[in-house]
């Protein structure tokens, strides 16, 4: 940070800075509010919630809802909690995010630095594909997975997520690389560097911020997907969200709101972790950017 700050072009006065901090903190308040409700209610006994005290701090503090959501809540016929489903989600999300990000980076690189006739139309086609409603995907996708023999497997789920993620990842990288000086690529080409060499040595090192954005997006979307996970995974191989959904959505059973909130926060942990860890690379990207100029 210290290195970077000497490098900035924008200077602001003390008054403006104070104002900026106030605005930023007000937004923190706005963003944190629902989380407050969730956390507060996740450490109360159920009777306190249904008794009407949804907004107040717990008068009897308990962490039992958390323990229950994690390991003993009923999400199927057996009281397993969310725990066993974590690994299912991880083993689906990691390859799906990796593959779609790599494809997106390469596509973005090609569409901006190796342009050919009709490339814009291709990009337009890929962009428009982001808008396909999931309602119409389900049935034909099931048929294709059935034919491929991937129905009920993690590999099938990975395929589905890569297919519907690649449009977005291409979008991110294409729009980021569009601003990257093409002269550098041309110069490297003249020096005899090949397709992959240029990508690896020249573009990738300064792609930090956009990789972060793309990974955040893909990770969140794939981690939180419910419909595909429920439809294309087997019962035991179902991802987290299916288990969370089973925990939370009951139509004619008793609703344990405190366990629901605890479960929702637990289920979001890996994504939150990604945000915090990946967020560091925003700053790295800045430093890389200042070198490249």
């Amino acid at each position: 940070m210290a290195v970077a700050s000497s490098d900035t072009a924008i200077r602001t006065g003390r008054f403006t800075r104070t104002l900026i901090y106030v605005v930023l903190l007000l937004f923190v308040l706005f963003y944190i509010l629902p989380l407050y409700i969730m956390i507060v209610n996740s450490v109360k006994p159920l009777s306190e919630i249904t008794g009407g005290g949804m907004m107040s701090l717990p008068s009897a503090f308990t962490i039992e809802p958390w323990a229950k959501a994690w390991s003993t809540a009923q999400v199927g016929v057996e009281p397993t909690g969310l725990r066993p489903y974590f690994w299912n989600s991880i083993s689906m999300v990691v390859p799906a995010v990796a593959i779609s990000t790599v494809l997106g980076a390469l596509n973005g690189y090609i569409l901006t630095k190796w342009r050919f006739r009709g490339d814009t139309i291709l990009f337009g086609l890929m962009l428009f594909s982001c808008f396909i409603p999931f309602q119409i995907v389900l049935i034909p996708m099931a048929a294709i997975l059935g034919v491929l023999g991937l129905s009920g497997t993690t590999a099938g789920l990975v395929l589905v997520h890569v297919v519907y993620g690649v449009g977005f990842s291409t979008l991110y990288f294409r729009n980021y690389y569009a601003a990257f000086p093409t002269e550098l690529v041309r110069a490297a080409q003249i020096d005899g560097a090949g397709f992959f060499q240029i990508f690896w040595r020249i573009l990738l090192p300064s792609s930090g911020p956009i990789i972060v954005v793309c990974v955040i997006w893909q990770f969140t979307n794939i981690w939180n997907d419910f419909l595909f996970g429920a439809s294309f995974a087997s019962g035991n191989g179902a991802p987290m969200t299916v288990a969370l959904n089973n925990l939370v959505q009951s139509s004619t059973g008793v609703k344990e709101y405190n366990v629901h909130f605890a479960g929702a926060i637990l289920a979001a942990m890996p994504t939150l972790l990604v945000y915090i860890v990946a967020g560091r690379y925003f700053v790295r990207g800045l430093m890389a950017g200042s070198v490249k100029g």
Binding site: V77, P95, G149, S151, T252, G253, V254
Partner: protein
């Protein structure tokens, strides 16, 4: 990259192998019973099968009162890999049966005498062309009223017998500053109330003509307008914050004494019991005023998917276990509903449960057992939802009663 793809291929092959291996002697069951009590009750079934050496592949998908599970089922059938048994409701079962996707359980049914013990109105939803295609688990009835006994006692209110009694009781509570009716403003809850109100306003013939036969004249009749007027009365006597509220929170209002009555199916009992309340002492359960002889029901069943033309031994064992008296009692004790067969001993159930069994048997034998419109046992899903649209719009003040009647006729004819 190459390495990733290669590993992917390997895992795929391994997964495909393990899946086919696991299916050999297992039953796979798709259901949406995931909340504490019901899931635990289903576990009884699982253990029962395990003692017979049959494995249970659990496939729970909750949400939307079974909608999510039905969506997933479509994907599974399209992929050519339907589960062994699937929890389903009313017309969904008939739809799948009519597509020829379900197994023929007639041999088993004959052997175990299902025809004699399952009420006829329920058999309608378990058979297609005279063939048993699914195994009923329970019967819920939806025309119940739940009341806080101490609130009623404190205001000198006896259990209302007629609509007029009910109006008087509501007025008394209102005057006493208590919310008379606890209600959650969600389409299905509005419609649940409407079921009972329509039955009470027009009687069983009217109910049947309007919601089961979908007779246009009845749908557009003055009696229907009267039913909507009564809904408007109910709307005037719920609190301001009813809209969007979960039904459990409405029940909690009755439990906490903030409200007098709630009209809800028998699953509401679970909330009372969970809060440590005793039927008859802390809370009362009675039929909606004017529908004492009738039962509007919905029933959970497990439809059995065709596994290549024959009913496998595992599938038969599952169906047989579902209809066994011991499971029927164990399950329904927890669920709040009553057994789907009328010949089991209900002495283990609580007062409300026993009342429910008695009512069901009486209604079944006197021809007063009708499928619930709100819960998809009177007309197909498209019609049910069309009725939801109108009832909800009226309840939220979008239509007056006269318009609602006209819209109802229209909506039903479009959806038919």
């Amino acid at each position: 990259m190459n390495k990733v793809i290669r590993t992917l291929k390997l895992t795929t092959a391994a997964a495909a192998f393990s899946v086919s291996a696991a299916y050999a002697e297992d039953v796979e069951v798709l259901h949406w019973w995931t909340s504490g009590g019901e899931a635990a009750a289903l576990n009884v079934l699982k253990q029962d099968l395990e003692t017979q050496g049959i494995g249970w592949q659990d496939m729970p998908v909750a949400g939307g009162g079974g909608t999510e599970a039905m969506t997933v089922l479509r994907a599974r059938v399209t992929a050519g890999d339907p589960p062994t048994a699937v929890q389903a409701l009313g017309f969904d079962i008939l739809d799948w049966g009519n597509q020829g996707a379900l197994a023929n359980l007639n041999d088993l049914a004959a052997q175990e005498g299902w025809d004699e013990v399952v009420p006829e109105a329920l058999q309608f939803f378990a058979k297609v062309d005279g063939k048993w295609i699914s195994a009923p688990v329970n019967v819920h009835s939806t025309n119940w009223v739940w009341a806080n006994k101490s609130v009623l006692d404190a205001n000198g209110i006896a259990v209302p017998e007629t609509w007029e009694d009910f109006v008087a009781a509501v007025e008394t509570l209102k005057a006493a500053g208590i919310t008379p009716i606890a209600h959650g403003g969600q389409a299905w809850q509005d419609a649940t109330v409407f079921d009972a109100v329509a039955m009470s306003a027009g009687g069983p013939e009217f109910y049947k003509a309007a919601f089961i036969d979908l007779d246009e004249e009845t749908l557009g009749s003055d009696t229907m307008k009267e039913a909507f007027d009564r809904m408007a009365f109910i709307r005037d006597n719920v609190d301001d914050n009813f809209s969007g509220r979960d039904w459990n929170l409405a029940t909690a209002m009755v439990i906490n004494g903030e409200a007098g009555f709630q009209m809800m199916g028998d699953w509401a009992k679970g909330e009372f019991l969970n809060a440590g309340k005793v039927p008859g002492e802390d809370f009362l359960c009675f039929r909606f005023p004017g529908t004492q002889d009738q039962v509007t029901f919905n029933a959970d069943q497990f439809m059995m998917f065709d596994q290549g033309g024959t009913v496998s031994q595992e599938q038969a064992a599952l169906a047989s276990a579902i209809l066994s008296p011991s499971f029927q009692i164990a399950f329904n004790k927890v669920k709040g509903s009553v057994p789907a067969r009328t010949d089991v001993d209900g002495s283990e159930l609580d007062a409300c449960g026993q009342q429910g069994m008695k009512d069901l048997a009486a209604a079944a034998s006197s021809g007063n057992l009708f499928g619930s419109m709100a819960h998809g046992h009177a007309a197909p899903a498209s019609v049910k939802n069309a009725v939801y649209d109108v009832v909800t719009a009226h309840f939220n003040g979008e239509y007056d009663s006269e318009t609602a009647v006209l819209e109802l006729v229209d909506a039903v004819s479009i959806a038919k």
